[in-house]
């Protein structure tokens, strides 16, 4: 028996195709294997949660997908482009045109206002929305001219999300976006992410080591020690406000 959700997934277009990805770091004399042979597809429009204990290779995987890093072995394709052997120039263009990032520590530019932080990215992107609109989307229409230091952690993270979605990326990669936030604030942020995914149709990957978040995803990818240990498909996405942790 094939569930509706699974069937949907089967016909969807794969945005990313990763095959046999591995990544090793050499630290002094020690060789750390951050990824050990990962195969993964990400489909257009879905929201996936990458779940796993810290050190399991989630960030490494996301960085490689986002063109921030390159694998030691294996291949990554984005649509019809092979990212595996792409040079710095091509990766930079790839990130600029197709990827939005959200980081745990927001990484806003402290000397720029909320609006300017968003403009920083929209101005180098082709199909972007106006910064005000992006900030409206994350509920910060009244904080346009605040500097990061004048915003709370949750607000800063929402600016970071506005910055990431404003350029209408094909994929939004979020590395522990709620890691530095309390529960309530974290939920607000996840709501924004979920809304952006639904309203803009942006493929979204969210890293977390918090299993409670898994409910909001279309698919949950579990990782341990650099490998994918299981993929769970949610029939029904839970609204972030209803998540409990």
């Amino acid at each position: 028996m094939v569930s509706a959700g699974a069937k949907d997934v089967a016909v969807r277009e794969a945005l990313f195709e990763a095959r046999g990805l591995s990544k090793t770091y050499v630290v002094g004399e020690v060789v750390v294997s951050a990824l050990a042979g990962v195969d993964l597809d990400l489909f257009r429009g879905e929201l996936v949660v990458l779940l796993g204990p810290s050190g399991s290779g989630k960030s490494t995987l996301l960085n490689i997908l986002g063109g921030l890093d390159v694998p030691t072995h294996g291949r990554v394709r984005f649509l019809h482009h092979d990212l595996t052997n792409a040079g710095e120039e091509i990766l930079t263009r790839f990130r600029r045109e197709h990827v939005g990032f959200v980081f745990q520590f927001y990484n806003l530019i402290p000397s720029l206002t909320a609006r300017e932080n968003v403009a920083l990215v929209t101005e180098i992107a082709a199909r972007s929305m106006p910064p005000d609109e992006a900030l409206g989307l994350v509920g910060l229409a009244d904080r346009l001219d605040h500097f990061p230091a004048q915003l709370s952690g949750g607000e800063q993270q929402r600016v970071a999300i506005a910055r990431a979605v404003a350029k209408r990326p094909d994929v939004l990669l979020c590395d522990e976006p709620t890691g530095a936030l309390d529960c309530e604030t974290g939920k607000r942020v996840l709501e924004v992410l979920s809304r952006a995914n639904q309203e803009l149709g942006t493929t979204t990957a969210v890293i977390t080591h918090n299993a409670a978040i898994a409910g909001m995803a279309d698919r949950v990818i579990r990782m341990r020690s650099g490998s994918i240990t299981g993929i769970q498909v949610n029939e029904q996405r839970v609204h972030p406000a209803e998540l409990e942790w």
């Binding site: 960030s59 996301l62 960085n63 986002g66 921030l68 890093d69 710095e88 120039e89 930079t92 263009r93 790839f94 990130r95 600029r96 045109e97 990827v99 939005g100 990032f101 980081f103 745990q104 520590f105 990484n107 530019i109 402290p110 000397s111 720029l112 300017e116 932080n117 403009a119 920083l120 990215v121 101005e123 180098i124 992107a125 230091a149 910055r163 590395d175 522990e176 890691g179």
Partner: protein
């Protein structure tokens, strides 16, 4: 125009770093100002000189002789390469100037009757040209007229060939031969006691029994002429007429001085800006490296969002460029202003008909170019780090482990145990590279302070060596022609003369291999007490019974070493060619000299102790009476006064160098303050988190301040000796570069200079300390603990 976000970040970062940006801009301004000041000053000098030489037909070759008939002129004109020849009568006379008790020296030059001279034309500043039918008319040089408040219509007394005459001033004049107006054997101008006067040939010729004859000739050469060749031929033609050796502009005193000034300016305009801009680059390097490390995540995020690394790197380069551009603009303005000041000083010493300050675009372009280079150098390593920084950095949730971890705990442990001193020492030893850089920066500031003061030290030494150790007479008298040794008794009989020491000076060309030079060979007493030969160390050099002592710099120019045998081609009397062994080199600071013991010189010349002049020690009370007598003694060609010379030295060279020196001292203070401030400021931003933690742990405001400033004090203590060493090295570099024919720079750094440099550095540190303390008081404890950095 709408500013792009990255530009806004640039502006805000600049504002945030304003203290350090101002510091860097000021240092750059100093460097650029020195470039612009020196370059525009000497370019104006070069162009005024070129214009003057061309329009007033300054000669290329000059020769003085005893006497030659006018018909020889045509023979000289036939020498291949000669474009024009002018002959004239030149006489050195003693002048009696109203209001001046001692006699002044005058150089009388004849002007052709009713025509412009073919070469070395005069520029009339006031009055009228000479009337050839009047025998007592003169034009006087402007500097002399001004120094003695002489006006058209005034009269001065002169002893012309033994006869006392009254000369009427009808005009004030300038000549390209006397842009720098100085008595031939002197080193510094003394316009009160030396002047140039022009008389008509019809008047001057007969007065010196040179009717239909001449004793001085000037030549202009065609551009492709071989000057050496022409000089040799002129010398051959003049040999029978008592020629004193022809020479080119390179040995013409005024031309030489200007050339040296230009060369000196070129050195100053290269060495000093190089040091200043080097310091600016160093400061930039520190500030930018610091900035890049605090903005690591921002750089990573820009890259993660697809900003090409070129754009990001350019952003930081622009930051450097902006700080430097502010400084460059400031420096150009300052440099143009200071350049006009230097030009004003030049006008006092160099007399041109027209000497405008005309700063060229080239100077500004060079200044902009070198400051951009400094910015690029300073930003280089930071920019490379920006290029290299992996974008994945931004994704990493935790900042990389820093060895600062555990600090708080340890601080807690140490709280009661450790004295602040121990903590300071521990902090420094934990980051040896950064501490080393800070020490180096402070040391450079100290070194520059030393360098600035070194100029005054050197001038002071120069004047001490020359006017206290070497010259010890009160009055120096020179004769028109050599007198018998009896002159000594006549001198001793003059009023007020306590003791005297005669000397013999012989014009000669010294030759070694293919190098040669016109010099006055001095025959001095074996154990001179009134005029000694003194090396740069201030110690007298004794004369050998046999052989010659040469100024080291002359030896260098001639490639002579002790033990070499040189030829002295005497240019008077029988004109013998003497061969002499050089026994000793005297590291003299002034002039190019050849000394022999007077008896040895007499032996070589086969003379019975002729004397060319004498050094006198004089009873001050009788000096007026003595001067009155000397003014009217026909045998006396010139009278020099040591104290007057010292005064004129201090007024001229010291003043001339003084302007540059003042600039340098001011600039070095700015740089020292900038360095020290920057060091303290960086320490503050680096440590604010740590210091806030300490405050949270219960340390008082004062204790934390002491800790931070104590660390700075420790750095300064380490920097002082290093700065002394570097400063001495820089002074040596400059002393080596400042080696001209007329004077050399002694390498002396006095304890006072070291003390001064230390004092300024400490004052700058105290000032910066106050600023930092103020900042520390405003430190937001919560914010600095919350921030990730």
């Amino acid at each position: 125009m709408v500013m792009r976000p990255l530009d806004r970040k640039l502006v805000r970062d600049l504002f945030h770093l304003r203290g350090q940006v101002v510091a860097i801009a000021l240092v750059v301004a100093c460097g650029v100002a020195t470039v612009v000041t020196t370059r525009t000053a000497y370019e104006s000098l070069v162009s005024a000189r070129a214009d003057y030489y061309a329009r007033y037909r300054f000669a290329d070759v000059f020769a003085h002789l005893e006497r030659a008939p006018d018909v020889l002129r045509a023979r000289i004109a036939e020498i291949p390469g000669v474009a024009a020849v002018e002959t004239r009568v030149v006489a050195d006379v003693t002048l009696d100037v109203p209001g001046l008790s001692e006699p002044a020296a005058g150089r009388l030059l004849s002007l052709p009757d009713g025509a412009d001279p073919r070469l070395n034309a005069v520029h009339l500043r006031g009055g009228r040209p000479l009337d050839a039918s009047r025998r007592d008319e003169v034009l006087v040089s402007e500097a002399f007229a001004q120094a003695n408040h002489l006006r058209v219509g005034d009269a001065i007394g002169a002893v012309l060939n033994g006869r006392w005459e009254r000369l009427r001033i009808v005009g004030i004049a300038l000549s390209p031969e006397y842009i720098y107006e100085i008595r031939p054997a002197d080193l510094f101008p003394d316009p009160r006691r030396f002047g140039v006067l022009w008389m008509s040939r019809a008047a001057l010729g007969p007065a010196f029994d040179l009717d239909g004859a001449f004793n001085d000739v000037s030549l202009a050469l065609v551009p492709e002429a071989n000057q050496e060749e022409v000089i040799a031929r002129v010398d051959r033609l003049l040999e029978r007429h008592g020629g004193l050796g022809a020479y080119g502009r390179d040995e013409q005193v005024s031309a030489r001085f200007i050339e040296d000034e230009i060369a000196q300016n070129r050195v100053t305009g290269t060495v000093l800006p190089a040091i200043f801009l080097g310091v600016a680059a160093f400061l930039l390097h520190i500030v930018l490296s610091r900035l890049v490390s605090t903005q690591r995540e921002q750089i990573a995020v820009l890259k993660a969002f697809g900003y090409p690394k070129r754009t990001v790197a350019l952003h930081y380069l622009l930051l450097a460029m902006t700080a430097v551009a502010i400084g460059a603009l400031l420096g150009i303005g300052l440099g143009l202003w200071l350049g006009s000041l230097v030009n004003g000083v030049y006008r006092e010493f160099y007399r041109f008909p027209r000497f405008p300050y005309e700063p060229g675009a080239a100077a500004v372009a060079i200044a902009v170019g070198v400051s951009a280079l400094a910015a690029a150098l300073g930003a280089l390593s930071a920019v490379l780090r920006v290029l290299d920084l992996p974008p994945a950095e931004a994704m990493r949730p935790e900042p990389p482990a820093r060895f600062r971890a555990g600090w708080i705990e340890r601080a807690g442990l140490l709280r009661r145990l450790a004295t602040p001193g121990r903590m300071v020492a521990r902090n420094l030893s934990r980051r040896p590279v950064r501490a080393g850089l800070s020490v180096l920066g402070l040391a450079l500031a100290v070194a520059i302070l030393i360098l600035a003061r070194f100029f005054s030290d050197a001038i002071q030494t120069l004047s001490d060596v020359q006017f206290r150790s070497a010259q010890r007479e009160d009055v120096a008298v020179s004769f028109h022609r050599p007198l018998s040794s009896h002159a000594r008794f006549e001198l001793a009989a003059l009023p007020g003369v306590l003791s005297s020491e005669t000397y013999r000076a012989v014009p000669a060309r010294i030759r070694f291999e293919h190098h040669s030079r016109r010099v006055a060979v001095m025959g001095l007493h074996a154990q001179p007490s009134l005029r000694r030969i003194v090396g740069r160390d201030g110690r007298p050099v004794s004369l050998p019974a046999d052989g010659a002592v040469l100024t080291s710099h002359l030896a260098r120019l001639l490639h002579v070493e002790p033990g070499d045998v040189v030829t002295l081609e005497v240019l008077e009397g029988r004109r013998p060619a003497l061969t002499v062994r050089v026994t000793t080199l005297a590291d003299e600071l002034l002039g190019l000299n050849v000394y022999l013991e007077d008896r040895a010189l007499a032996r070589l010349l086969e003379e019975e102790g002729s004397v060319s002049g004498a050094f006198l020690r004089v009873d001050a009370a009788a000096s007026d009476a003595l001067h009155q007598r000397l003014k009217r003694m026909p045998a006396v060609a010139g009278v020099g006064n040591r104290l007057a010379a010292l005064a004129s030295f201090e007024a001229t060279l010291a003043r001339n160098l003084g302007v540059m020196n003042g600039i340098l001292v001011a600039f070095s203070c700015v740089i020292a303050a900038a360095m020290v401030y920057n060091s303290a400021r960086i320490a503050l931003s680096e440590r604010s988190r740590e210091l806030a933690s300490l405050r949270v742990l219960g340390f008082s405001q004062r204790e934390v301040t002491q800790m931070l400033l104590g660390e700075q004090a420790m750095l300064l203590v380490l920097a002082l000796p290093l700065g002394f060493w570097i400063g001495h090295g820089l002074a040596k570099l400059l002393a080596d570069a400042y080696a001209w024919e007329l004077f050399r720079m002694p390498l002396v750094v006095t304890p006072r200079t070291y003390a001064y440099a230390s004092l300024i550095a400490v004052l700058a540190a105290l000032g910066s300390g106050a600023l930092v303390r103020h900042r520390l008081r405003g430190l937001d404890l919560v914010a600095s603990l919350k921030s990730r950095d």
